[in-house]
Symmetry: C2
Subunit: 327 residues, 2 copies
DNA sequence: CTCTATAATGAAAACGATTTCAAATTTGTT
DNA sequence: AACAAATTTGAAATCGTTTTCATTATAGAG
């Protein structure tokens, strides 16, 4: 491996001179030229580990996600990446499968790595994790949720589901079922369910709640079968996600229901297949890629911010209701 | 920051002893105990940059992808991650947007980082890149393509499209159009198109070729409109990907065609919406996650392999034809 | 032409681990 | 009890940079 010292020898200057050439510092034209040539000839590239050790800073940011092969997650990561790459940072990825233990593991590992900052997606909050986040030695931003005391970028999950619920009520539906997901997830789980319930109560309507096993189409399908069996007079189904909604639609169609005449259906997410099904799916678009970009921007400000005490930044991103045939 | 030296002082031993405690080496019970206590008390964690600098090895592997927010890519990455994480490696992610310049940039950057190995997905081959791959100082595996002289894991793109084409011919279709993508991509572009053409020629049928602009549903939609205008008697359409196929189906349905009576359609990919459309889409399943796992396993072998000269490993993964209503 | 500010320079000391090596200690063998 | 072998130990060198600091060359001011 060719080192800075080698370059110094070749160019007949001191190592300090080479370092100054690379990082900016006063240096004569003549020596600059010689160093430039030596570097060009050898293809020398500085050893990052040495740089990191010496400076204590690494141009990497950690990204901790539950899983990478999910539409929303991968879009957020794409957003993060576009901003970070533009600023010369690369991404160190950690996937947790939703396990707190792994989340803490990566939080530690990344700090050991001396990343410049960390972004955590779709986490759930426990006292232990709150501590871990607070005592993180590098800037940290959370996406997808808002836990009050930590910088974050999140969607208006509540507003989106509220709007969908109101639209469904306005459409004349009265027997409405909500198909939700695990409420340990404060955004997708809790906030959306709560929004639906609040809006229904506001209209003096009863709320029926079914909890899907996971986020897959199949779970929506199963929930719909329960609905058919237990609440046959249902005329509206609100789903926490688009995939669930598609599963629900499939089951209802198979059961001979006419959509949307017999039952209205809504999802959240604006997944790409939403306009391919019959009927097309009414949904709320969330801005995942934007979310990643904003999170990255905030993190960059925190990383490169001069001042010691940074303000708490919390961004709530809006939604857009996409009214289609299924409502 | 608390260092190994601090621990040594606290435990009243030499730094070497602490290092031996961490890495294994002869050490008395007594000292082990004192060191263990000191570490527990302080929460000391070794500085990775120092370790990397000293040992020249970093438990990270680089993953270079065109974009992360794609179904197939994110699934491959998930596969890579599951194997790598299990072996204590984390992932350094680089996205190229298909630009060779960025690909080379990350290839260099990651080597500077002293990652243990690199996996490159869905790349295209140029002489310059072939050189770059060959001169890579760390083990390297390519996924999604086979360029002959580099370790790789790839799908049987040719076989899959051949089987689909033959099935469509057996179904009685005679006026078949192939909707493909950019052939700079040797797998998705070239191999699939070639398979379709070969199979058609084999059956003495003409091949009509339309090139989609990109991989989006909308492009399939546009291609289908061209087909309707230029080749109105088409009775079968083979698509390089499922998204294109869905766009095609949408356009045909809007044009009043009955599917599959009037026209048969096939895609490749087994995307999750394939069973939600009317008709459901006939497709070929590829094993993306498996691909990632296998690539990771190969890379691990190369990294941890004792011998200097490693054999060239090339894995071709099979496919499964999923025959559904659209054929 | 002198004197002071400024720019250019390299030696040497970090950064925080691992590893070599020789010395000191323990263990086992006769 | 005496010696060889094996184990335990810490001092010091090392990895490849950056940065401090004292020194020397250069330029600008009077």
């Amino acid at each position: 491996m060719i080192t800075l010292k080698d370059i110094a020898q070749m160019a007949d200057v001191s190592p300090s001179a080479v370092s100054r050439y690379l990082n900016g510092g006063s240096l004569s034209e003549e020596k600059s030229r010689r160093i430039r040539d030596a570097i060009a000839q050898t293809g020398y590239r500085p050893n990052q580990a040495a740089q990191t050790l010496r400076t204590g800073a690494l141009k990497q940011v950690g990204v901790i996600v539950p899983k990478i092969n999910s539409n929303s997650v991968s879009n957020v990561v794409a957003g993060i990446n576009s901003v970070m790459a533009a600023n010369g940072y690369s991404l160190l990825l950690g996937t947790t499968a939703g396990q707190d233990k792994k989340e803490l593991h990566f939080l530690n590992l990344m700090q050991d790595n001396q990343v410049s900052g960390i972004i955590v997606m779709g986490t759930t909050m426990t006292p232990m994790k709150k501590d871990a986040f607070k005592s993180c030695r590098v800037p940290l931003v959370i996406t997808g949720q808002n836990f009050g005391e930590i910088c974050c970028v999140h969607h208006d999950d509540y507003g989106a589901m509220q709007a969908l619920t109101e639209a469904m009520i306005a459409r004349g539906r009265r027997k409405i079922v909500y198909v939700g997901v695990d409420e340990k997830d404060a955004a997708t789980g809790l906030a959306r369910r709560k929004a639906a319930f609040d809006a229904l109560r506001q209209a003096d309507l009863d709320a029926v709640y079914l909890l899907a096993q996971d986020y897959e189409v199949e779970s929506g399908y199963q929930c719909a079968q329960q609905i058919l069996a237990l609440y046959p007079d249902t005329d509206g189904i609100l789903c926490a996600t688009d995939k669930l909604a598609h599963g629900v639609m499939k089951a209802l169609k198979e059961a001979g229901k006419h959509l949307p005449e017999d039952v209205s259906i809504c999802g959240v997410g604006d997944d790409w297949p939403d306009q391919l099904t019959t009927p097309t799916l009414t949904t709320a678009r969330l801005y995942h890629e934007q979310c990643g970009e904003d999170a990255a921007s905030i993190l960059l400000q925190m990383i490169e911010g001069k001042t010691e005490d940074q303000p708490l930044r919390q961004i709530k991103l809006g939604y857009t209701i996409l009214r289609r045939e299924s409502l």
